[in-house]
Amino acid sequence: MDINLLNKLERNAKLTTKELAVFLNQSEQDVAASVAKMEKDGIICGYHTLINWEKTDKECVSALIEVKVTPARGQGFDKIAERIYRFDEVQAVYLMSGGYDLTVIIEGKTMKDIAIFVTSKLAPLESVLSTATHFVLKKYKDHGRILHDGSQEDERMVVSP
């Protein structure tokens, strides 16, 4: 497993096999084989594009929901987590330490969509004890990338010693 390769791909999934080979000082065949193997092993789970939807016309709302649940005997939190993460509108589910059990990140077109999901799908689940829904008002930084960073123009002089 090549951590360096993974780090590079995580930051920029568009790098070509040839570029990766140059960066890593490996042959293109070796890089292609490593990537293929890690895809097969489920280490590389997908290639995504980070989009700042706020700059588009698309209507979309996201929320972070704190969920308290009763773990199932013998299965802990996994069973109830699965009941939740299988919904398509759910983007992420994390088991948490601290004051509540699961963080559920959900996306919908409108706040109403999310309200419907919480009241008709999530809250009624038998093991769910309580939910607290926090709507995202603005994303400043996502996946390590600052989304509103103003001008990134190169202010250096054209030539310097």
């Binding site: 030539v159 310097s160 010693p161």
Partner: protein, 396 residues
């Protein structure tokens, strides 16, 4: 009208880069591989510390030699990174960039007519600073054949009874060359026969070497060299802090005391905000350095590979963030090549001759740019060398 400027200053040529910059700066839509500074921003923790210091009104002078906490941090850094032990009180001075350190070191050691060996190609200020200090610069050329590593014999043959100091810069700007232990040992053998020659070692690119086998070795760690070596280093390259103007010199207490004397009269102290930022950089910045180094290394590989693909010969640089490819096959001089690249392809690269006569036939390309910019730049060079048929039949 009478002229107020001294002959010495009048006769000093303006930096070769400067001339080129003036032309390039006027042009629109050009891309550049011409800068000698990182494209990264100063890490946020460092900037944030500086902002906080201003909020707390830490805006007074520091002691002449530098903020004591910064000198302590430098002392610790030099010990852990480069195995060099200095007294924070007596053997370290904080300067306004390495540039100032070069100037005051030379002024502190040169008597009129003293000779200083300068290994070329090199940073543009060495020669000028020697002249301004009343000394005589003596060029020691290096060549591609020896990977731009200075050869012991070339040093020996230029030593005279007037030789006062030798200036080294490895990892090197503009070539990206480094010196391995064997190379250093060979020149130390020569220098040990001349104990009265001071070594001034500009190690500002020390953090930027790219293979495990080639980690930077300071000449001051070589046997018998510590007592006679002044090590210069700074924050510009490693921590992406060029505009802060922060450097330092470490060496024999007597020499540092002499430098502090000049420094206190002409500078007073390095900027306080920069010094506070420097403390944070040394304490919590080394991980950031590693990230930048990894990124530079990717680009370095990309550039060496790209130049080789288009048939431009380029020795593999193992340090700094420059490539120094040969453009001799085009039959053009460095200056003609760079002027035409600028005019015809709107790409700024620096003629090797800006760094000394032996830079003729080479150009300096910095890879402190994003991969996208580098690829575009390579494409333009490729277009130029492959499709310009008016010189020497192209390059391949």
């Amino acid at each position: 009208m009478s002229s107020f400027v001294t002959d010495k200053v009048k006769n000093m040529p303006a930096s070769g880069i400067r001339k080129f910059f003036d032309v390039a700066a006027e042009m629109k839509d050009i891309i550049s591989l011409g800068v000698g500074e990182p494209d990264f921003f100063t890490p946020w923790n460092v900037r944030e510390e500086a902002i906080y210091s201003l909020e707390r009104r830490r805006t007074a002078y520091t002691s002449n030699a530098g903020h004591p906490a910064l000198r302590e941090a430098i002392c610790e850094y030099m010990r852990t990174r480069f195995q060099l032990k200095y007294s924070a009180k007596e053997e370290i001075i904080v300067t306004v960039g390495v540039s100032e350190a070069i100037d005051i070191a030379l002024r502190a050691v040169i008597n009129p007519g003293d000779e200083v060996l300068i290994i070329e190609p090199c940073y543009v200020s060495y020669r000028a600073c020697v002249i301004l200090a009343g000394g005589v610069p003596v060029t020691v050329p290096t060549d591609e054949e020896n990977n731009f590593r200075v050869q012991a014999e070339d040093i020996r043959s230029r030593i005279t009874p007037r030789t006062k100091a030798i200036m080294l810069c490895y990892p090197n700007n503009p070539t990206g060359a480094i010196m391995e232990r064997d190379d250093l040992e060979k020149i130390c053998t020569v220098l040990r026969d001349h104990e009265d020659i001071l070594v001034i070692s500009d190690e500002v690119y020390a953090e930027l070497t790219y293979t495990d086998e080639n980690k930077h070795i300071s000449i001051a760690t070589m046997p018998g060299m510590y007592e006679r070596t002044l090590v210069l280093n700074g924050f510009s390259k490693a921590f992406a802090m060029t505009g802060w103007r922060l450097g330092y010199a470490c060496g024999p207490a007597e020499l540092i005391a002499g430098m502090v004397k000049i420094h206190q009269y002409v500078i007073m102290c390095a900027p306080t905000t920069a010094q506070i930022a420097g403390i944070e950089a040394l304490k919590n910045g080394l991980e950031g350095v590693q990230k930048m180094r990894d990124e530079y290394n990717d680009r370095r590989r990309l550039m060496v590979e790209s130049f080789r693909e288009i048939g431009i010969s380029c020795f593999e640089p193992l340090g700094a963030f420059y490539l120094f490819p040969s453009i001799k096959k085009t039959g053009l001089t460095s200056e003609d090549f760079c002027t035409r690249m600028l005019m015809e392809k709107r790409l700024a690269v620096v003629p090797g001759t800006a760094f000394g006569e032996c830079g003729e036939g080479f150009i300096r390309c910095s890879y402190a740019y994003s991969v996208e910019e580098l690829k575009e730049a390579v494409q333009r060079i490729k277009d130029f060398v492959l499709h310009s048929t008016d010189f020497h039949g192209g390059i391949v």
